[in-house]
Symmetry: C2
Subunit: 443 residues, 2 copies
């Protein structure tokens, strides 16, 4: 018999207090997204392998299925694999259920994804993503970019410890492409990937990559990098690249920022234009964004996304343009759980303990607990007459606030003891006054 | 490019209205379980294969992992498989995190499980279970059986269509084993499995199985079956089998029923003692239960469970007795979604649409929507001036209740039109009165 089970590396799990903190974060984000009319969606854990790998993804990261001890006819298990993001499942879902959806389709999705990576700090094999997307058919208004950005901004403001500063850094691929053309890039996707790596590898390596992979002449690469890294008024950029693409990109970026600020008003906004934001993925076509936390830059971007012209080109003949952002919840939570208010989360949602001093009084304790629950107070009832000190100690350890204590004699007299488990102060009161005494204490 | 994606058989997914109905059901159950002080738990999707198969489970149903296109050193992927229930993950979790948990450990868990079965009606390869368990170290009070039963009973009452009759059928393994000994069974586990199959195969086949596998003489098998199938006062059973096991089983069953009714009072209870309930799994040692719906017997048991002396014997040297019940949510939902109130669920939680008649008015519409959201009204804002009729039709299709409509002139005059999308009645009112008009309509 093994006495010690070791954790499976890369598959994080939480203790009760952590799980409750995690759930409270998810609830706050959901409340914001639902207020904007986004609906929750859950897709199956698996997709067909040919759906997952249609976009030329590195298939080595995919966890595929197999039936244990079944060879040959495995009912199709070998064609299936675990999703590694929530975007491909959305594309497949929208294509599959197209006829039954009303567009624009606003959805959010909080589910785990799986990647067969070698786990290390901040990199998991199973992690939760929290995706928000606005997908439509026909024209996609730029206001959709702004709505998605504003909703995610509001969600982050709701879950981050109060006073946390973050920056939602917005850019536009058209602007970037226009600038790259002006600066004589030969391979635009390679040049964009080089810019995307800037924060990881630094200016010198980026400049080298722009020259070697992007095909920019060295002086242009240097000048471009300088331009991208300096805060530059968007208005002034109009004179830097006169390509139609750059002009369009600037106009889009200005409008998205304006609209997003309108959505957020009167709240303060942490939106900034940032020309160094590129995003690695090829499918972004306009707005792109990343979000960094001043207090925890090591997390990288906690919320990223952008606008795409066609969600599901490999799956459907219909053009479904959209815009979406994704919060990397598991990685963010590894930091959040060390911060207020999450680092003091109780290990239960029960607020009151009904202690047990006599097996004979079980029906009475049960009645007490039922009354509290009926009044909306989550209540844990001790089901056997253990040592009272142990009952109270365990309750305090879990973070239960109050204990209701009564023995035979007190039951006869219809009085109870109400003990504050944090201060250990105790008062004795008539049973009839219990609820009206407790309610303001718990409010 | 494929134009039609076919569903992956056995992995159910929901349209927005269904997903919202599903989520509302989960929320109702969670509210009941949390009121009793149970905490939510989520475990990783995978377990080690040797953990999953330690109990002699049919490993052919297990979906194991493999890394796609990676042979040899796959970082341990081949040792991992998807969980097929929530009990083994609980056992592993409690063993692994023993030192950081406070006992008794009350937890609920709503997560999908996976089984490599050939899918058919009501049988899935991915389905959600909703488990509730009370696990402790040392003595497990019988009141725990009652609490778990009462909490599940209350949860079912909360989610079933009003007026739905269900039966929670409670039995006790000790009673069953005592009776089987009195009736001269030679192989108790085989005889219990025979009784467990009674509803599936009928009385004749069960009688045959009792004789052939359980080793009962034919007259005893017949007499036992008759006894089990007739409603029999528990009190009278005390004279039927005088084995200590049966006497203990009867006393336990009586106490569990009494306590469970106390927990449920003053609500009506659908608890009944039922001697035909056996449960197939070997690890149950006392209370066992199944739950059937009068209106949908074809669902089989919608909520089943029992008491076990040791949750994690293959994983830990500690004895962790417990009691738990599991609601087969996916299968139950396939029926629930056809019933009120779930069959009229809207496809969005948005209650109000802010229509769009002019791109120039975007900032105004945004303000309107923000005011509604700030008042707690989920609001969908149309982001482009599409045809008004289309906007309203789409909103009505999703089940949004009201539309707020204003054009340039109305914005100037600070008036809005409020349209009931179900009745198509419209009223014009001062903007300042919008909130106080809407709030009672939506309450």
């Amino acid at each position: 018999m093994a006495n010690k089970i070791t954790a499976i590396s890369g598959f994080p799990e939480y203790l009760p207090a952590e799980q409750l903190a995690f759930n409270s974060i998810v609830s706050k984000v959901q409340a914001v997204y639902a207020a904007f009319g986004y609906v929750p969606l859950e897709t199956a854990a698996v997709e067909r392998i040919d759906t997952l790998t249609a976009k030329g993804i590195d298939s080595k990261e995919v966890y595929a299925l197999r039936r244990l001890n079944v060879e040959g006819d495995d009912d199709g298990a070998k064609e299936l694999a675990l999703r590694f993001d929530l975007t491909i499942p959305l594309a497949r879902y929208v294509s599959q259920h197209y006829a039954n959806l009303v567009f624009p389709f606003r959805r959010y999705q909080v589910q785990p994804v799986w990647r067969g990576e070698r786990p290390k700090a901040g990199r998991y094999r199973q992690f939760h993503q929290l995706d928000l997307d606005y997908v439509t058919e026909g024209a996609l208004p730029l206001a959709a970019d702004a709505e998605v950005i504003a909703a995610a901004h509001q969600a982050l403001a709701a879950i981050l410890p109060s006073g946390t500063k973050f920056k939602m850094r917005i850019n536009n691929r058209k602007l970037l492409q226009g600038l790259l053309k002006t600066y004589k890039a030969k391979d635009l996707p390679a040049a964009i990937r080089a810019i995307d790596n800037l924060e990881k590898v630094g200016a010198d390596a980026t400049q080298t990559a722009l020259v070697q992979h992007g095909g920019l002449p060295a002086p242009q690469a240097e000048a471009l990098l300088q331009l991208l890294r300096e805060p530059y008024p968007l208005e002034a950029l109009k004179g830097v690249s006169t390509t139609p693409e750059a002009q369009e990109g600037i106009a889009e970026l200005e409008l998205v920022l304006t609209r997003a600020q309108e959505f957020l008003a009167p709240r303060p906004s942490f939106l900034v234009p940032d020309l160094t934001i590129a995003r690695g993925l090829d499918y972004y076509t306009g707005t792109v964004l990343e979000t960094t936390l001043e207090a925890a830059p090591e997390l990288g971007s906690i919320c990223s996304g952008g606008r795409y012209d066609n969600l599901a080109e490999s799956l459907s003949s219909r053009a479904l343009p959209g815009v979406g952002v994704s919060i990397g919840l598991s990685r963010l939570f590894a930091w959040l759980k060390t911060q207020a208010p999450y680092n003091t989360q109780a290990a239960t949602t029960a607020q009151v303990l009904v202690a047990n001093q006599s097996a004979d009084l079980m029906p009475y304790y049960t009645q007490l607990a039922a009354q509290l629950r009926a009044a909306g107070i989550a209540t844990e009832q001790v089901l056997a007459p253990l040592k009272l000190a142990t009952q109270l100690k365990n309750a305090a350890k879990k973070g239960i606030s109050y204990a209701v204590i009564a023995n035979d004699e007190e039951q006869q007299k219809q009085i109870v003891n109400l003990k504050n488990l944090a201060t250990e102060k105790q008062q004795t009161l008539p049973l009839a006054e219990l609820l009206k005494t407790l309610q303001p204490l718990l409010a």
